[in-house]
């Protein structure tokens, strides 16, 4: 299954947040690199159908982003999102599972498996407000995978995680990328240099690079600094 993005543009008044971005993504981990404010989150929101583009199309296989079937194949972890503090970890996952249209039995099974996968099984019955930042992020990643998605969009997924957890999640992303399209945005080069099969670089809303790490011709850190300089 391919994700086909064609001439995607988002304009706010006179400001172009995303300009004519086109690309086709195949299963594997795709790192979306860019400085803060480059347009990564806007692009991801349009890919996830939560924001309408000014122009352009997004299709996953035969489904347009506006189709409900597209949503069935999508898992999305937004960059900044709150959790319901009085829900337990398990309740949060069951709630998102209900949003994703999973039946009760499947929801429970999937939630238990995912809590184990993100190492939160012992904290499943604790309220989310008692979770640390890293635990919340892990819970966020778990909710992304509830519906066994084919397109996984992760906006800054490793923010707030400690180095050990970052490594753990890099392995999870690599595993997921074997059969699915994993689009992973970050402004931290080390997050993707070890696991991304392909790198997209966004600057001022425009795609400025699309290729493998080898195609950058140098190490990713230097490549990034060449494009963005001191921008953060």
């Amino acid at each position: 299954m391919e994700l086909k993005i064609e001439n995607l543009t988002k304009q706010y008044g006179n400001k172009m947040a995303i300009q004519n971005v086109s690309c086709t993504l195949k299963p594997g981990v795709v790192g979306l690199l860019g400085a803060n404010g480059a347009g990564k989150s806007t692009l991801m929101r349009m890919i996830c159908g939560v924001m309408k583009p000014t122009s352009g199309t997004v299709r996953l296989g035969k489904y347009d982003v506006t189709d409900m079937s597209y949503r069935n194949l999508l898992g999305y972890l937004p960059q900044d999102f709150g959790y319901y503090p009085d829900f337990t970890g398990m309740e949060f996952l069951l709630y998102v599972a209900a949003l994703k249209g999973l039946d009760k039995k499947t929801a429970k099974e999937r939630s238990e498996n995912l809590l184990e996968q993100v190492n939160l099984e012992k904290d499943a019955k604790r309220k989310v407000k008692t979770y640390s930042g890293g635990m919340k992020r892990r819970l966020g990643i778990a909710q992304t995978l509830l519906n066994d998605p084919k397109l996984i969009v992760l906006d800054e997924p490793t923010a707030g995680l400690d180095p050990k957890e970052r490594v753990r999640f890099r392995h999870i992303f690599e595993q997921l990328g074997k059969d699915n399209i994993v689009l992973l945005s970050t402004h931290i080069v080390s997050d993707i240099e070890k696991c991304a099969d392909r790198i997209l670089v966004i600057k001022d809303g425009q795609k400025v690079f699309d290729g493998t790490e080898q195609e950058t011709g140098k190490d990713l850190e230097s490549f990034y600094l060449d494009i963005f300089g001191g921008e953060e």
Binding site: V50, Y76, F81, Y95, L99, G101
Partner: protein, 361 residues
């Protein structure tokens, strides 16, 4: 849908501020009830029980005029004073009391600029009212009539506190991104609306129930079949105190529905809990303003605002609505208007929700 509904209810119930507000309002309601006990009014009013079943006629009026212990007859003095529009009740008789009451009603209808057809409508209603009125001890219900407008304001405040975040909080927390990338957006909207409505109905039942328990606990239940005129002499409808109690209860529930629908509408359209709450509170204060009848249509529309509507004055509102050649009084039309308004608010919120897009944080 059931799972989503359950979680939406949980989200609403997890708001600490709502529980604090409910606790405070319960204390206020209990305080209002206890005041009558502390001031001794409750004890005095128990004396009226002995008059239950007596007609307010010449014999009783004479008894009131000749009594040495006037406190014993306060309820009848109030009735005569209200009908006569004066504190001088020493030289009046039954015929004068009832005739003056009717004259006052006619004058009020003229002041309200009612047409002859409207006046005729009311005269027909008045003809159905049996006179002289038969007194029955009904202090339990009276206590509710005098406090129900306070409970109504409380209900409006609780809607503002408890429901205004139902859509807006998702935006503020950023959870809207999860919701809008899921497949059950429409189902979630319905679940949220049902959760908001059901919580408001629970709050309305609780407040009206608390008010009733306080009043009936102190004064008892008797007086269900008493004519409303012994408490609200200006009323021209053939309606009993008990029927009025049930009507107010239903009205209170429907008021809850419109408050809740309005709060959810504001929450979705403004996407800001504070702004929605502020508008609800401003609405509460505005509804306390009495727009005089001289302002015509504005005054008529204003009188139907639920914040201004619920109270004993509702039963002396003479202005009618003319639809398809028939007259309808405010007691008939208010619930219909409120239900229609609620549906409009929900429909607009639904439209806005459908077209809503996640914005950057």
């Amino acid at each position: 849908m059931g799972t989503l509904y359950r979680y939406e209810i949980k989200k609403l119930l997890c708001q600490k501020i709502l529980w604090i507000a409910v606790a405070l309002m319960t204390l206020i309601l209990i305080g209002v009830g206890i005041t009558d006990v502390v001031t001794g009014r409750a004890a005095i009013s128990k004396n009226y029980k002995e008059f239950s079943g007596r007609e307010i006629d010449d014999s009783l009026i004479k008894e009131v005029q000749e009594a040495e212990d006037q406190d014993h007859y306060i309820v009848f003095r109030s009735f005569i004073n209200f009908c006569m529009g004066t504190a001088d009740y020493e030289n009046v008789n039954e015929q004068e009391v009832y005739a003056t009451r009717e004259n006052n009603n006619q004058n009020q209808m003229k002041q309200a600029k009612l047409s002859d057809a409207e006046i005729n409508y009311w005269n027909q209603k008045e003809a159905e009212v049996k006179k002289p009125f038969t007194y029955q001890y009904e202090e339990g219900y009276a206590g509710i009539y005098t406090s129900v407008y306070v409970a109504n304001f409380m209900l409006l405040l609780l809607s503002a506190i408890g429901i205004c975040g139902i859509f807006a909080d998702e935006r503020i927390n950023g959870t809207d991104q999860i919701i809008f990338s899921s497949v059950s957006k429409e189902k979630l909207f319905i679940a949220k609306i049902l959760a908001g409505l059901s919580m408001e109905i629970i709050l309305a039942v609780y407040l009206y129930g608390a008010l009733s328990i306080c009043s009936f606990g102190i004064y008892g239940f008797s007086g269900f079949n008493a004519p409303l005129q012994i408490r609200i002499p200006g009323c021209m409808l053939n309606i009993t105190i008990g029927q009025t109690y049930i009507y107010l209860c239903v009205l209170f529930l429907i008021a809850g529905i419109i408050y809740s629908a309005f709060a959810m509408f504001l929450s979705q359209v403004l996407n800001n809990r504070s702004a929605a709450t502020a508008i609800m509170v401003i609405g509460l204060f505005l509804s306390m303003i009495n727009v005089p009848e001289a302002f015509g249509l504005l005054s008529k529309v204003w009188s139907y605002l639920p914040g201004a509507y619920i109270g004993s004055w509702t039963f002396t509102e003479y202005r009618l609505i003319h639809i398809f050649g028939k007259f309808f009084n405010n007691l008939q039309m208010a619930p219909v208007f409120w239900m229609i308004a609620s549906m409009i608010f929900i429909a607009i919120a639904g439209c806005s929700y459908k077209h809503y897009q996640v914005k950057g944080k």
